[in-house]
Assembly symmetry: C2
Homo-oligomer: 393 residues x 2
């Protein structure tokens, strides 16, 4: 069994945004049917499903059989449906289980469905549910929220001279510029650095335009063992080169972080390094987190994230475009769907189907999805590496 | 890759019952450490974790990273932790993911942790959370509860002459008799058929003493690739012969049910049939469901469940003892832990460590765990087949 034994044969999304009239079933239906159509298969071809949702129990009251309830809606029954949850990394965690199921020989064609509906009657319910991405026994003793944790981390980096406030504004401008080109994005307006810095403070130094927000949406992926589904003529092949996960710990800030641990495993599995990556989607729940990801994923040396950003190399058209979709902060962060939206974007990029936001002939793509937190460190991290097999003409 | 590539090397439980002073962490800690001690390994030997919990989001407010929060409590960090949910079949679903992870080559030693705390401040919150094991869009239109669905199914079987009220009482008496021998059981008192029938009506013909109830508890399993962990001297080897899952559909009552579909796959994978099974733990959320399971698992012909029960062959000491632990209805049904409690019991039985409830030299054991419901059919079913490798002396 090699690591080149699984292909991404279909991807699909429901646009991210605010869809108060749509149910979880409505959102999921669009994403799943888009992915199945993209793969050129029907619901009866699906041999197993992994469902990803993070907040349906607390926000919609639909716990326990979230996948069964939305998948039956499109006629998928009888096959094994497994409900997977890992906070903001739920989607990539579910994808990894699908890949493992194929590698284990348990199925040849697997659908991964991620769906989330965060806009509900009362915003405070959504904020309460988000708190459960941390260990409640600890959070209830500190009052800390995600944004505060990010804010403190960034203040430390600014104090150390590693980042500037301008870097934080610039990366947000880049995210919004990319999101403006993405029809699936929640925010599709360009912003200026001045607008970013002048927007409402959230947790100093973070401002409103740096942060992802409440979001509805869905994304779906079909993975398959090569050769099982008829290849669509003219369609470039997207293979999984690595699928790795790691979970959180109480960080002292001295040891390698969770993303570094997970990325090292992924590079080892893929047999390549950060210099080989041509395009990446990284976990920027707050736009400046992209800068931290540059370093943790090895795209630059520690302390050089600001310089890498300023060089333009991570913009569309640069050497290693990051978050061409707009990322979590602009495409949006419908929690259970996010990891699959990243992979959808990368599949489109590798196939050359990303329209206005297409990067230049990428061959290797990396998706980085983190979730939850445990006192200064993420609770879960997943890194996937994808490869386009055919050469670009 | 054969299907004999995974062993159950450790099992452990926290007793099921009412533990109002214990947190989810407290319950999980006992079960996991018992399983690790049983396997003869330490927390640093665990390479991946699958966590099973069904109601923590709605009852404890701990959604999203349930596994990370309780596993960190025993010092398990950095390795991949995946949170799995499938209503009452959550535990067996998580076990199946662990088995697939080993078969896929992603890990050699995997811990599966199931934990549930259903006793909370207000019983109505627990009942509300249980409703989410069905599709809320449907339930909210019918007002049906689990017990009512079981009740209607049993009434139909009684009307058809397949079962009698005496059968329902007798199977409950058997469950309680077994549970009385199990130190991990929630209910440890023998009852008479008269007491069962005279107890409070729940959903005709079901009475209180036929039903599982609100329960706290935890169970854990360690699975491993053979040869990776030093074999404990004198300890019989328990191998996984089959691990199958299927998910629900809207039943017309005409086609094979979910358990039948899943059991057929499991027998095929194991290369054996129902006559080869020496001991079984089946999903009796209501004790009489055990009778339905006899038929769906092939232990007897359709219509013969009452006769099989009356023959004594499914009692401890019979040809094919079923639910020697007391089953869900007497050992208890701490939802996320149930599937793993079943496998713990079967491992003890296969090793000859079940003390007063030990069945006679079993070689093949079957665990049947169902979860949720979709209009007349379960939403999830898992069947595992285990084998003792060494002959009995």
């Amino acid at each position: 069994m090699t690591n080149a034994d699984v292909e991404v044969i279909g991807v699909g999304m429901h646009p991210f945004g605010r869809y108060t009239e749509s149910s979880l079933k409505d959102l999921n239906r669009v994403a799943c049917l888009n992915a199945l159509i993209d793969a050129g298969i029907g619901v009866r071809d699906v041999q197993a499903v992994y469902a990803s949702n993070a907040m349906g129990g607390m926000l919609q009251g639909q716990e326990m059989i979230r996948g069964q309830s939305v998948l039956r809606d499109i006629g998928i029954e009888r096959v094994p449906i497994t409900n997977v949850e890992n906070a903001c990394a739920s989607g990539s965690t579910a994808l990894r289980q699908a890949i493992l199921a194929i590698r284990a020989g348990a199925a040849d064609v697997v659908l991964v469905a991620g769906f989330e509906k965060m806009f509900v009657d009362d915003r405070s319910r959504t904020l309460d549910a988000l708190e459960s991405a941390g260990d409640l026994d600890v959070i209830s003793g500190t009052g800390l929220q995600f944004t505060a944790v990010y804010g403190m981390r960034l203040r430390r980096l600014i104090a150390a001279g590693s980042l500037t406030l301008d870097d934080l504004a610039t990366v947000s401008v880049k995210s919004h510029a990319n999101g403006a080109l993405n029809p699936y994005a929640q925010y599709r307006s360009v912003v200026t650095a001045e607008e970013v810095l002048a927007s409402r403070p959230i947790a100093d130094p973070l401002t409103l335009l740096m942060c992802s927000s409440i979001c509805d949406g869905a994304a779906a992926i079909v993975v398959a063992r090569p050769g099982v589904v008829a290849h669509r003529e003219g369609r470039p092949t997207v293979r999984v080169r690595a699928s790795q996960a790691a979970s959180g710990f109480t960080s002292t800030g001295e040891e390698p972080g969770l993303t570094e641990i997970c990325a090292a495993s992924a590079y080892e599995e893929a047999g390549l390094g950060p210099d080989d990556v041509d395009v990446a989607e990284v976990h920027d729940a707050m736009a400046p987190a992209e800068l931290i990801a540059y370093e943790h994923l090895g795209f630059c040396k520690p302390g050089d994230a600001g310089a890498l950003l300023s060089s333009g190399e991570t913009s569309i058209g640069g050497r290693i475009p990051v978050n061409p979709s707009g990322g979590l902060s602009s495409r949006g962060h419908a929690v259970g769907a996010t990891g699959l939206a990243q992979v959808s974007e990368l599949a489109w990029q590798l196939r050359g189907e990303a329209a206005q936001r297409q990067v230049d002939q990428p061959r290797i793509a990396l998706a980085h999805n983190n979730g939850g937190w445990l006192e200064g460190e993420s609770a879960a991290s997943c890194v996937h590496v994808l490869e386009r097999i055919e050469s670009w003409n």
